[in-house]
């Protein structure tokens, strides 16, 4: 697939993106989607990106993208973070639902769903995990029983990020209870306004409600909403997750911003002369720059979208680094680490606290770090799998 985005001139591509962002990134943060809806300001931003051709640069041009290769995508992401541009409201659609439709969907399905994803008109969430199916996702139990030309869904999803503000969910359901568990799963698209869908936000330890439980009670979904084949959902899901793996949503630029805030705290707390703090700051800077070089290598070694084995180190690496970074910040804040009274504390402490707790989740979501290490050991090093009963 030829990359029309950069046309080989990466420097010019970077300049193009940087110039556009400088002219268009809104001043100040956008509204908080956790209030239960995506604000107009988010929609406006998505529309702006769409009009400029930047909504989904990695999509093929025939679907509204720019065929961007891995290198161009990383450059775009670096510039996006450098400019402090708003978080995307449509990531699940752009990164997972959309590419999955392009790979496995029918022409009708692509016509129905891709445009609204691209234009930020329909927001998607991911219905994978269940109370009994976390690391062992194939253990999922939400059932889908065929009745005429509809499936009747019963069950529950959990940790569904953004469900409260979403219009649609792509859901993994069990369509064959007799088959071995990996072989009885189907990927189906569900309109969240369908009767029988109940969404309950889950309060997180930092007080936010970023994720939800989604209950299905006799929810009727058209059989035409199955993507890929019935009972082939596991393969569809693994392919979808593979689109994500290796080309991270985070570049070192985001971490440079966080390091800058950490430095501000060190100065605010008058700890610049503390040797131990200085050394730890240096260690974190090293980790951030190593991340840059690592991603550069991952990009160089990717071939037509396929990433090499070193991509498996990505998530393990940045999640641990982010935790260390926020941990140091809490240590620097000292007695202020727990304070939430704005008039007693420093600016940005609340935000640091919230993100500190979020960083604690990074070793859990998107595949726990224990699972990542298993994958590295088995697929990169070729160590034998543990025998299962």
């Amino acid at each position: 697939m030829t990359n029309t985005a950069a046309n080989g001139d990466m420097n010019a591509w970077r300049r193009e993106i940087r110039t556009w962002l400088e002219a268009n990134v809104p001043d100040g943060p956008l509204s908080d989607p956790e209030k239960g809806h995506i604000g107009d300001d988010h929609r406006d931003w998505e529309q702006k990106l769409y009009n400029a051709g930047y909504a989904a640069i990695h999509w093929p041009s025939e679907y509204g993208g720019q065929n961007a290769d891995v290198a161009s995508r990383i450059i775009f992401q670096e510039e996006y973070e450098r400019a402090g541009a708003p978080p995307r409201a449509t990531l699940q659609g752009l990164m997972l639902a959309g590419p999955t439709l392009m790979r496995y969907g029918t022409a009708d399905q692509c016509d129905r769903w891709l445009g609204p994803i691209l234009r930020g008109e329909e927001i998607w969430c991911q219905g994978f995990s269940e109370p009994e199916a976390g690391s062992d996702l194939a253990n999922l139990k939400t059932s889908a029983v065929l009745d005429g030309d509809e499936y009747i869904l019963n069950g529950q999803k959990i940790w569904t990020s953004g469900a409260l503000v979403s219009d649609w969910a792509f859901v993994l359901v069990r369509t064959d209870k007799q088959a071995p568990k990996h072989h009885g799963i189907t990927w189906i698209m569900v309109d969240l306004s369908t009767p029988g869908v109940e969404i309950r936000p889950i309060r997180q330890i930092n007080g936010a409600s970023g994720f939800c439980e989604v209950f299905f009670t006799d929810t009727r979904v058209p059989a035409d909403n199955v993507v890929g084949e019935v009972n082939n959902g596991w393969q569809v899901a693994m392919t979808a997750l593979g689109f994500e793996r290796g080309v991270g949503r985070r570049t070192y630029v985001k971490f440079l911003h966080e390091l800058a805030q950490l430095r501000r705290f060190i100065v605010d707390r008058d700890l610049q002369e503390d040797d131990a703090i200085q050394a730890e700051l240096g260690r974190l800077f090293r980790k951030v720059m190593v991340y840059k070089y690592h991603v550069d290598r991952t990009v160089a070694d990717s071939d037509n979208g396929k990433v090499g084995p070193e991509a498996s180190f990505n998530k393990l690496y940045w999640s641990e680094m982010q935790q260390e970074l926020y941990e140091l910040g809490m240590r620097v804040l000292g007695g202020f680490a727990e304070v939430q009274d704005d008039h007693l504390s420093f600016p940005q402490v609340r935000e640091w606290q919230d993100t500190y707790w979020y960083s604690r989740a990074t070793t859990i979501f998107a595949g726990t770090n224990q699972i990542q290490k298993n994958i590295i050991a088995e697929r990169v090093l070729g160590l034998p799998k543990e025998p299962r009963k």
Binding site: Q272, E280, L281, V290, G382, K385
Partner: protein, 347 residues
Amino acid sequence: MSNMFSEEQLSLRAAAKDLFAAECSFETLLAELESDAQPDPKRWNLMSEMGLLAVTVPEEFGGLGLSVSDLGLILEEVGYAALPEPLMETAALFVPALTRYGSNEQRERWLPAIASGEAMPTYQPMAAAGAAYGTIADVALIEDPKGLFLVEASQADIMSVQSMDQARRLGRFDRGTATTLAGPQAVAELKTHGRSAAAAVLNGVSRRLVDESVDYAKERQQFGRPIGSFQAVKHLLAEAVAGVETARPAAWAALADTASGAEARHYAAAVAKSSANSAATTASYHALQVHGGIGFTWEHHLHIWLKRGKALEELYGAANELDRELGSLVLEAGDLVEEFGPKITTA
């Protein structure tokens, strides 16, 4: 292998890898460790025949005229093989230093001889107790707060220094009869060379420790199955390989920046050595742990890499020194994203 390298770089690496595999077997290395005799010059001669000694020697002096950025993979192989000879000191330190700071006469006297294998140089950094192969080398560059000094072995007092890794054959050069080659500025530049190069060698040592441990974990059976099938062992090795593999590109980048004289080269070298140190600690601890009791024996050979790694960790930039330097850099910098973030190159 990585797409980041040219055909030439890859073929030099392959040549080094094959040569070292043939000439650095466990038996050979152990025998050399146990012997006080002068090492056989055979390996050094083979390296010169292959052009490995000439990589960074300018063409006009009989070399390949390449830069330190072409050394990355070769230096990893040096570490991977636990090569006793001072190839790193030669190609990444002595030769670039003499090329840049030496007089024409000095360059003509030594560079062709090094390229052809007739003369073996070494390098004595300030922090080190002695130079690698100092008791064997013909010529050395000594670092001192005042600058770089060139000294011929035949005219110097060289004190043999016992190392826990006796293959290094340390020799301490006295500055006495040395000629001044350059001032303190040169020491700062060579520090960047040393850190980047030592990082690459150290990553090779660490990768060897990982590979040996993976092989062992696949073979060794307990409780009716290979120990590598247990999650506890898997996780140790996953951590070790993740550490090495994320450190490697940092060393490559540092060597490239050093070669090009990029402004980033000083902190890139510190980042490279710091990450190599961290990866080496993890690899060293986890490798011995996975090997269990057998890894603790002289006969088993793991110690060759454990000791080489430990020595290199503390040379050419030890952890605390690098961390403080980088911390100070961050504290004194302006906007971090502007200074360390992506740049648009003006054509």
